[in-house]
Every structure is written in structure tokens, then in C-alpha cells.
């Protein structure tokens, strides 16, 4: 089953598998470091369906749910992993 970044609960991590769609949004995501293979963690969600706070490559990003729904992820897990992300 396909899982999207928006499906993750706060505290869950997953790796980017694929980004749907193209154009400026995809380019923007690429520039911010969201490329296949990168691990993302949903830190928290703003209330009433607001944006998500996402951690990747050691920094924080805010993204709307609509945008998160374009990112297909795999292998979500919660245990801490040997990665820089765990330290922050």
C-alpha cells in the first residue's frame, strides 16, 4: 500500500520513495533536499489541518498537507536510528 508523508503521525520517520507531480513544487522540494532516499520525520502538525513540521538532513521544514500528500514514503519506523537526525 502506498503511504504518503501526510499519513505519518508525529514522531514517525520514513524514507522518500518518490515525489508525485512535477513543476515548481517538485523543484522546490528538490532544492530543500527532499530527494528519493532521504529520511523524513514528522515532528508535529499545526491544528485544524494546518501545515506539518518535518525534520530532514538536520533541519526543520514546514509543509502543507497538500504538499505532503505528493511525497510517497516507505519503511516508516519509530525506533531511533544511527543518523544525524536522531541527535536533534
Amino acid at each position: 500500500m502506498e503511504r504518503f508523508l501526510g499519513d505519518l503521525k508525529p514522531g514517525e520517520r520514513a524514507c522518500v520513495e518518490h515525489i508525485k507531480g512535477g513543476g515548481a513544487l517538485r523543484r522546490r522540494m528538490m532544492d530543500m533536499g527532499i530527494v528519493p532516499g532521504v529520511e523524513l520525520e514528522v515532528v508535529r502538525c499545526a491544528p485544524w489541518g494546518g501545515p506539518l513540521q518535518v525534520r530532514l538532513k538536520g533541519y526543520y521544514l514546514a509543509m502543507r498537507r497538500g504538499e505532503c500528500a505528493k511525497i510517497i514514503v516507505t519503511g516508516s519506523h519509530q525506533e531511533p536510528i544511527e543518523h544525524l537526525l536522531a541527535s536533534r
Partner: protein, 695 residues
């Protein structure tokens, strides 16, 4: 020597720029863009260096204005050296930009900033290893404390003076990609273009079908404008314009088509190149970065736990906004009062001098009631704007503004706007001028324009003051608060409606992406707060004062000629009579129309205008409003309030819109939209009220 400063947003670029250039800054806009252009001249030994602070950007593709400017500058003006600032705490993404810069310009010096911040998160960077991994000099800096900045510049000068271009590392692309790049390189190597740009970059961009490749640009310095305006601060615009000379088609079209047939479209190439760069970074990363797992959460984590919390986030934001509003619009009142008193005193002195010199009465009146009264009314708002901008710079630099955008985004989504519009719109409740100026943080030009155009619909503090005085006179007791709330509700509904409507007008088909960095919190330097505050205030004054002076004189002439006649017989009064046909359907008499016309310069003068028209002396706003109750029904007063709240806030806001949008067309559109909307709403309210049997 020309040096360009490049880096991601929030890496401390402006701190370095401010430290190096000090007060020798030229601030303006990039030609044809609404992005700030900052440059400065530095003297070091025998060298005169022009340092250009390029806008903060994440990439050198050609999507956002910032990216285009940075890329065009490096491509077309060919700076001798590029100083690339890198955030040590976020080095992976920062190096992505550095790799792009390295493909374009060989003479690069990397400035590694925020090492202290990185250490608090458990990251250590070996500077020497990083330098050897990239094969470019790396200088450690702590910009906030001023450490290493001079060394950064010295290193840049040294690299700029090298006889030969250094050879920075090359990103190793996967084989299937590398073969295609080399095939393209082979086609391009003999052309004239290969002499102008690095071959590898040219091949990559050709594969991406970048439109810029093959365009010949001529740099034409806009001398006329420069010579007219050699102010040290606040240049009106870029000194340089680009002219497209010719467009050539580069070889390789067949190859590109062949690749497309294999499924390698331009998007595919773009993605593959970005992917390869990130892969390359993660390959070299272990050579210079080590990290230990800290059990202790960082400051940013702790603060975000509160600031972004679903429960506490909004109350905290309210407190922050309350402090900003209190500081800018309440605490500044004595300063504003002092400014108007100083103006009144100066007017008195001048008038006495004129009397002593037996100047005619009308000159005295022009000086006192025209120039000083009008200009003073606007000058009294300058402290507000300055203090607001100090807060704004502080919030932006510290990282809070991004959090406010995060929290406010949900509401902005309803209007199809970006989260960053939130702060601009909220600021409008204080004063629309800084509200419109605050749209600078928006990256998408269309989002910016929409936010700018709807901002005047939000009632600012002076308007709220006048409105509450009128409401108190017509609707005493608890009815007043209901009326006031209903007015604010109308304003909010119209802001929302207008945002959705204007999206169609500006033809915004694609909603801009809300993919925004939440930078680590840090305490801004005093200089980083004060310099932009000074520049914003100064440029506002510089642009606005002529308009305000002229408007004050016009208002004075209209309301005092012909001399010695009652108000209704002056030109202003007659104008009100002509305009009564517009006001008539709304139940306005000529006095209201005059007050509305004069409200253009500054709306807070409306009450005193009405006072004069209703024959009430003094400035006691209560008595003026009381005098109006005798002449108007509550329904008419309500209609007046609706129109008053919605039409153009003041001349200064119109000038600011013109300056920020850079377009006379959109400014006029905004003014017309405001006027039509306010009168249409007034008509609906008046006739709706009559139909419902209100009086």
C-alpha cells in the same frame, strides 16, 4: 574587484555584509524585480572592492525571483570571486547550493558560519577536511560575534588575485548520466559559448533545456538614473539593466530529442542532477563531519515545544503580536506626539518670523495650516513605522516570523494565500504602510501583489480610532461593541473575498508551494535590526515627503479659497457638492463627501475635517462625533463607517504600494478597487438597511 556574497536564507549573510560595508551601503531593487539589492564599497590596501549581497536562495535554477537574480548576476556580471556562506548546522542542504555555484564560478571561498550552533546540536566540522573535499578555501566565521569576517574577505581577495582559476572538485555523476553529459560536452566544446561559460555547466543546462543558454545579454548601465540620484542610501533601483541582444540555438537538439525518446526528458535530467549532487554530498560528508548523539534537546526544540504547540502556540503568538503592537503603536505615541508638537512649534516660530517680516496672511496660513499641519500629521506616524520595523527585523532574524507563518498558514489557506501573508495582514491592523512593506518576505510575486492589494481593507489604528469615536456617538452602550464587531467582520469577509477574487485578476493558476524552512532560533545582532530599520524608514520618508507636501498644500488651497467665505462656498465645499451625486445614493451629504475626499491624505484627519464642516471648533473628537449625531441617522452613520473603513487608508499607503509593487498599473488598480468596493458596500448596506426598516 567585484565580489558576490551567496548563500541560503538565514545563514547570516546580511550580518557579514553589514559588518564589512558598515554604512557604505547602497540599497535599492534589482532591475524589474521587487527583491532588495544591496551593494557596498570596501577599501582594503590598494583594492577597491564592490561587494554585492545576492538574495538568499536555496538553488540556482530559475524558478523564484531570488534564484533568477543570483544566477543572472553570476552569469552576466561575472564577479571575480564568490563568497559562499554555509551554515555548519545544516551543511548538507547548504552544500547543494555551493556545488551549483562551483559549477558556475571557479573562484569560490566558503565561509563556514554557525559553528557554535552546530556544536550545540552535536555536529563538528573539520574545516581543513571540508576544504580538501571541495578543493576550495574554507574560512570559519562566527558572524554574530564578528569573528573571522575579515579573514573571510582577505581569503576572497587572495583567490581573486590568483593568476589562474583554481580547480574545484567535480561532482561525480552516475555512469549513465556522465555518458550523456560527455556526449553533450563534445557537441558544445567548439562553440563560442564554451569560451564564455564552464563547459560542464553548459552541458548540464543544455540537457535541462535551460532557456538562458544561448541568450546574449548586454549590460547597459542606466546612467541617467544613477547620476540623478547619488544618494548614499536607498538608491531607487538597480544601476544595471540587461538587454537581450540575440538568441542563438545551441547544437545538440538532435541529441536531446534522442534522449527524450529514451525517456530522458528535461525534468528527468533535472531530477537526476539534483539527486546526484545530494548523493555526492552524502558521500563526502563523513570526511569532514562527525556528530555525537546528544541526549539534551536543543534550544530550538525546547522553544518549538511551546511556540509551535497546538495549545500554547496561538496564545504565545497573541502575546508576541500584542507586544509588537503595543510597542509600535501605543508606546510610540509620546514620540509621535512630540513630533507633532515640534512641528507645531516650528510652525509657530516660522509664522512669527513671517509676521515680523510683514508677510501676507495667506502665506502665514499656508505655512501653519497647510504645510506644517499636513506634513506634521504624516510625520507623527514615522516613529510608529520605525519601531514597527525594528520589531519586524528582530522577529524575522530570530526565526519567529517563520513560526508565525506556520501557525497562521491555516487561515491563509482559506484565502488561497501563503502563510507568510499572515504577518503582513495582521500588521495592517497597526498601520497599512509597514503591512504592505512586510510583504517582502513573500517569494511569489503574485502572492505578494495580492497581499499588498488587500492590505488596505484592514482598518489601521488611526482608522479604528475615528471609527470608535463615531460608533460611540451614534450607538451608545453595548450596542457600540456589536456595531464595531460587525464592521470588523465586514472587513474580514471582504479581505477573504478580495484575496480569492484577486487571484483570478492576477491570473494565479498554480498556488505557490508552502515549503518553508523553520530556521534555528538565534538572537539577532543589534546592527542587523537597526540597519534595515533605518533604511526602511529613510526610504519611506524620502519617497513620501514630496507627495505629502504637495497633497498638504492642495488640501489647504482647496479648503481656504476663495478667502473669507463659509466652508460650503470654498472650492472644497463646491467639490463636495459635485461629488454629492456619488454620495447621494448612499445618503451622504456634501460634508461627508468632502471629508472622504480629504481623507485621502491621511484618514485620521477626517474627524477634524468633519468638525470644521459641522462648525465644531477644537479637536475634541467626542464633541465632533456628537455634532454629527444631530445631522445624521444611525443608518447613514453606519454606511459612512463602512465606506470610511474600506476606502484607501492614506496617501502614504498608496505610495508604498507603488514602491513595493513597482507598477503604476497595479497601484491604480488597487486604488480603484478600494474605491469601488467601499462605495458598493456602502450602497448595499444603506439600501439593505432601508429595506429592513432601519433608520
Amino acid at each position: 574587484m567585484k565580489i558576490a556574497l551567496v548563500g541560503n536564507p538565514n545563514v547570516g549573510k546580511s550580518t557579514v555584509f553589514n559588518a564589512l560595508t558598515g554604512s557604505n551601503q547602497q540599497v535599492g531593487n534589482w532591475a524589474g524585480k521587487t527583491v532588495e539589492r544591496k551593494s557596498g564599497i570596501i577599501q582594503r590596501a590598494t583594492q577597491e572592492i564592490e561587494l554585492v549581497d545576492l538574495p538568499g536562495t536555496y538553488s540556482l535554477t530559475a524558478y523564484s525571483q531570488e534564484e533568477i537574480i543570483t544566477r543572472e548576476y553570476i552569469l552576466r556580471e561575472k564577479p571575480d570571486v564568490v563568497m559562499a556562506m554555509v551554515d555548519a548546522s545544516n551543511i548538507e542542504r547548504n552544500l547543494y547550493l555551493v556545488l551549483q555555484v562551483l559549477e558556475l564560478a571557479p573562484r569560490v571561498v566558503v565561509g563556514l558560519n554557525m559553528m557554535d550552533l552546530a556544536q550545540t546540536t552535536g555536529i563538528t566540522i573539520q574545516t581543513a577536511e571540508l576544504a580538501s573535499a571541495l578543493n576550495v578555501p574554507v574560512v570559519e566565521i562566527v558572524a554574530a560575534k564578528g569573528k573571522g569576517i575579515e579573514e573571510f574577505l582577505t581569503e576572497a581577495i587572495r583567490v581573486g588575485e590568483l593568476e589562474q582559476d583554481p580547480l574545484p572538485i567535480k561532482v561525480s555523476y552516475p555512469d549513465e548520466l556522465e555518458q550523456r553529459i560527455q556526449a553533450m560536452e563534445a557537441l558544445l566544446v567548439g562553440t563560442a559559448w564554451a569560451a564564455k561559460y564552464p563547459l560542464r555547466w553548459l552541458a548540464l543546462k543544455r540537457l535541462e533545456r535551460d532557456p538562458e543558454i544561448g541568450q546574449e545579454w548586454k549590460i547597459s548601465p542606466a546612467l541617467s538614473r544613477k547620476s540623478k540620484n547619488n544618494d548614499s542610501c536607498c538608491d531607487p533601483g538597480d544601476a544595471v539593466n540587461y538587454e537581450l541582444q540575440e538568441v542563438a540555438v545551441l547544437p545538440g537538439e538532435e541529441l536531446l530529442r534522442a534522449y527524450e525518446a529514451e525517456g530522458w526528458s528535461k525534468d528527468h535530467f533535472e531530477m537526476a542532477f539534483a539527486d546526484a549532487k545530494y548523493k555526492y554530498i552524502s558521500q563526502i560528508l563523513p570526511r569532514f563531519r562527525s556528530h555525537e548523539n546528544l541526549t539534551k534537546p536543543t534550544w530550538t526544540d525546547l522553544l518549538d515545544g511551546w511556540i509551535l504547540s497546538p495549545i500554547w502556540g496561538y496564545p504565545i503568538m497573541l502575546v508576541v503580536l500584542a507586544v509588537v503592537f503595543w510597542g509600535s503603536f501605543v508606546a510610540s505615541a509620546p514620540i509621535g506626539g512630540a513630533v507633532s508638537q515640534a512641528m507645531a512649534w516650528a510652525a509657530d516660530v516660522l509664522v512669527r518670523l513671517l509676521q515680523w517680516g510683514h508677510a501676507p496672511d495667506f502665506v502665514q496660513s499656508l505655512v501653519r495650516d497647510g504645510i506644517f499641519a499636513g506634513v506634521g500629521a504624516v510625520l507623527a506616524f514615522v516613529p510608529q513605522i520605525a519601531i514597527f520595523f525594528a520589531f519586524f527585523s528582530f522577529l524575522q532574524d530570530s526565526g519567529y516570523l517563520a513560526r508565525a507563518a506556520f501557525l497562521g498558514d491555516r487561515f491563509m489557506q482559506l484565502m488561497g494565500l501563503h502563510g507568510k501573508s499572515f504577518f503582513s495582514l495582521v500588521s495592517g491592523f497597526g498601520c497599512n504602510v509597514p503591512g504592505i512593506m512586510a510583504t517582502r518576505t513573500l517569494e511569489d510575486p503574485k502572492d505578494r501583489l495580492i497581499t499588498m492589494l488587500i492590505n488596505p481593507l484592514i482598518p489601521c489604528v488611526p482608522r479604528l480610532g475615528v471609527m470608535s469615536a463615531v460608533v460611540a456617538a451614534f450607538f451608545p452602550g453595548s450596542r457600540g461593541s456589536v456595531v464595531m464587531l460587525s464592521l470588523l467582520l465586514i472587513s474580514m469577509i471582504l479581505v477573504m473575498f478580495s484575496a480569492l477574487f484577486l487571484r483570478r485578476v492576477v491570473k494565479q493558476t498554480e498556488r505557490s508551494a508552502f515549503v518553508m524552512e523553520l530556521p534555528l532560533y538565534h538572537i539577532p545582532t543589534l546592527r542587523n535590526v537597526l540597519i534595515p530599520t533605518w533604511q526602511k524608514t529613510y526610504s519611506f520618508l524620502k519617497r513620501a515627503w514630496t507627495f505629502i507636501l504637495v497633497a498638504s498644500i492642495v488640501v489647504w488651497v482647496l479648503s481656504s479659497y476663495p478667502q473669507g467665505v463659509p466652508m460650503s462656498a470654498t472650492w472644497a465645499g463646491k467639490m463636495g457638492g459635485w461629488l454629492a451625486f456619488i454620495g447621494g445614493p448612499l445618503g451622504f451629504d456634501w460634508r461627508i463627501m468632502v471629508a472622504i475626499v480629504f481623507g485621502f491624505t491621511a484618514k485620521e484627519t477626517t474627524l477634524s475635517t468633519l468638525g470644521i464642516l459641522y462648525g465644531v471648533a477644537a479637536d475634541a473628537s467626542q464633541s465632533i462625533a456628537q455634532a454629527m449625531t444631530g445631522a445624521m441617522t444611525p443608518l447613514r452613520a453606519y454606511t459612512f463607517l463602512v465606506v470610511y473603513m474600506l476606502y484607501i487608508p492614506c496617501l502614504a499607503s498608496v505610495i508604498t504600494t507603488y514602491k513595493e509593487s513597482g507598477s503604476l498599473g497595479w497601484t491604480s488598480f488597487g486604488v480603484a478597487y478600494n474605491l469601488i468596493l467601499s462605495f458598493a458596500m456602502g450602497w448595499i448596506v444603506f439600501h439593505g438597511g432601508l429595506a429592513l426598516g432601519f433608520q
